[in-house]
């Protein structure tokens, strides 16, 4: 649960703006490259042998039945799994060509560069302003953060709705507004990537639509990886889609997630190569 943090020697290779990074062993246009990644919880292999490249400034969607390890894999992309006792990642997770699980990499630093938005909106029980300012303050910026807060709220298409009540408690907002606040909060630390774990599953269709529009807008600046239960959502917003499924081992009773197919979204939804993908996207399974 605890982790050693040495911010001074942290992630020297990672630069906030990705296009400045010259990578060694991958194409520059890929933000992540996963090679034979296994994720364990204790002895349990939750996700097995995933290899995929996640392109820069695009939206990549993870779809699949529940329990197939989408969230697990997503959390391994910003080392949130490190905080779960017993969780372990094998294989290579390369971020702009650099091994994210290398010995010199500080997981805390990783999370400032790779932000995350959760399934249920989780604003802090503070003012709207303090929610957005939390990340910058963590980084030691203690002066006037009005500009940072405004820019982040504008970035999350929330500014006009809340500009007159920045000092109000964030819990007074609607669910959709709360989720956009969480996006604003993530943007305020100026990340390179935003990971979203079913960000709309707790929202109504109108709020969902706004967040989808926002994602399409945000991909100009950020690389986005989204887990979604909603196949229409993947079809609407994602450039590329990865379909995962669960393999049950009848002998041991263990269930392991595997990547079935990963391709352009149009291909996944129109003429997938794998029969299991076709069954899933046509609604015959899962």
């Amino acid at each position: 649960m605890s982790e050693t943090t040495t911010p001074s020697t942290a992630l020297p290779e990672i630069s906030v703006s990705a296009d400045k990074v010259t990578s060694v062993d991958t194409e520059p246009k890929n933000t992540f490259e996963l090679r034979n990644v296994n994720v364990f919880y204790g002895d349990m292999l939750a996700v097995k042998d995933v290899s995929m490249a996640i392109p820069h400034n695009q939206i990549t969607a993870f779809i699949g039945p529940s329990g197939c390890g989408k969230s697990t894999l997503l959390r391994s992309l910003n080392r949130m799994n490190d905080l779960i006792p017993g969780a372990r990642v094998e294989g290579d997770v390369l971020y702009h060509g650099m091994n994210m699980y290398g010995p010199k990499v500080d997981p805390v630093q990783v999370r400032t560069v790779i932000g995350m938005v959760f399934q249920k909106p989780n604003p802090f029980p503070k003012s709207i302003y303090d929610n957005v300012a939390f990340g910058p303050r963590l980084q030691g910026r203690n002066g006037n953060l009005d500009d940072v807060v405004e820019e982040a709220l504008r970035g999350a298409a929330l500014w006009d709705e809340v500009k007159d009540r920045l000092k109000d408690n964030a819990y007074g907002m609607s669910g959709g507004q709360q989720q956009r606040l969480c996006i604003a909060r993530a943007i305020a630390v100026q990340p390179d990537v935003i990971l979203m774990d079913e960000p709309c599953s707790a929202l109504d269709p109108v709020s969902t639509g706004r967040i989808e529009d926002l994602m399409v807008e945000l991909k100009k600046t950020y690389t986005i990886v989204i887990v979604t239960h909603n196949m229409q959502q993947a079809a609407r917003v994602a450039d590329r889609t990865a379909f995962f499924t669960v393999l049950a081992n009848d002998e041991t009773g263990s269930r392991t997630g595997v990547l079935v197919e990963y391709a352009a979204t149009t291909k996944i939804f129109s003429k997938p190569d794998d029969e299991r993908t076709e069954n899933y996207v046509s609604g015959r399974f899962g």
């Binding site: 999370r111 932000g115 993530a186």
Partner: protein, 318 residues
């Protein structure tokens, strides 16, 4: 992040601790729930039961207070607060040294239990691995300690604090330490409950923004849990103020005519003083004891008001 431990199988807690723990949880949760219907109905029923219990409690308290005012009436004047105790001239005797003694002892208790209790709670809730055997052992023992009678802590204080390893002697600091040990389990349990009532999504949200575990706890979890923690501390301190039995063992001697200090000389506290007046046969001393109850009520109300004011301030941080 870790699985919710199963608290239904928890060791039975004494009522005071249960109230502290329940209160700490309620206060924190109220921050995060905008209210769903089922909870509201349950809430109404629970509220009804509470009001019933409360009315019984209130009637008894009202009877006691009335008695204290009627019986102590003749002595209710400022001498009561400014004069020193005496059995020889009871008509002039007061509680000054006992009031000061209580303030010293309770001040010491607060200074000890807040950092120790909250620190232990933070460790157990946020850092300790619940699967670890040692942590489970500590957990179980804290729950058991909350049920140990106070006189046992008095004996412990006498053997280890007044004499034995610490050998502080019969001083106010020994009283503080003894009472702190007595109420520490309550503070730890209530603080843990308050911390646990903060959704783990708050912690995860902080971590995902690049906070260290320590920053997430210090800047988000703890402030959100603070009103609940304070509730637990208030209840623990209220209990400590009223304790007489363990203090008698660690030297709260009866007739102190000089102002107390922490590390030297005898001391007395309000409950022990009231006890020593009340057990004597003279009529005037009975009156004095009743008046002492009024003094103690005033002191309790004052200390609790400060604590409640503090809690309300923390509840409105936005």
């Amino acid at each position: 992040m870790a699985d919710e431990p199963d608290y239904s199988s928890r060791v039975a807690l004494p009522p005071r601790t249960r109230v502290a723990v329940g209160g700490a949880r309620e206060v924190t949760e109220s921050l995060f729930t905008s209210g769903d219907r089922k909870k509201k109905i349950q809430g109404t029923i629970f509220l009804g039961l509470l009001l019933f219990g409360l009315s019984i409690a209130l009637i008894s308290i009202a009877a006691m207070i009335t008695w204290a005012f009627v019986a102590g009436g003749p002595r209710l004047n400022t001498n009561l607060f400014t004069n020193v105790p005496s059995v020889v001239t009871p008509e002039n005797a007061g509680y000054r040294t006992a009031i000061l003694g209580t303030l010293y002892v309770i001040g010491g208790v607060i200074v000890l239990i807040v950092p120790l209790g909250v620190g232990a709670a933070i460790y157990l809730e946020q850092f300790a691995n619940p699967a670890n055997k040692f942590n489970r052992f500590v957990d179980l023992n804290i729950q058991n300690l909350a049920g140990v009678p106070s006189i046992v802590f008095g004996i412990l204080g006498l053997a280890f604090i007044v004499r034995g390893p610490l050998s502080l002697g019969f001083v106010a600091a020994a009283g503080s330490l003894t009472l702190a040990l007595l109420v520490l389990p309550t503070v730890i349990l209530a603080s843990r409950e308050a911390i646990r009532a903060v959704p783990s999504s708050i912690r995860d949200g902080s971590l995902a923004l690049g906070a260290t575990v320590w920053q997430a706890v210090w800047r988000q979890v703890l402030p959100a849990a603070l009103p609940g923690i304070l509730t637990g501390v208030i209840l623990a301190v209220s209990r400590a103020i009223g304790e007489a039995a363990p203090l008698l063992l660690v030297g709260a001697v009866t007739f102190v005519t000089f102002n107390p200090s922490f590390f030297e000389g005898g001391y007395s506290t309000l409950p022990t003083m009231i006890y020593s007046y009340a057990k004597r046969p003279q009529e005037e001393l009975q009156v004095l004891a009743a008046a002492g109850v009024v003094v103690m009520l005033v002191l309790l109300i004052m200390i609790n008001s400060v604590a409640i004011y503090l809690r309300n301030r923390f509840e409105r941080t936005w």
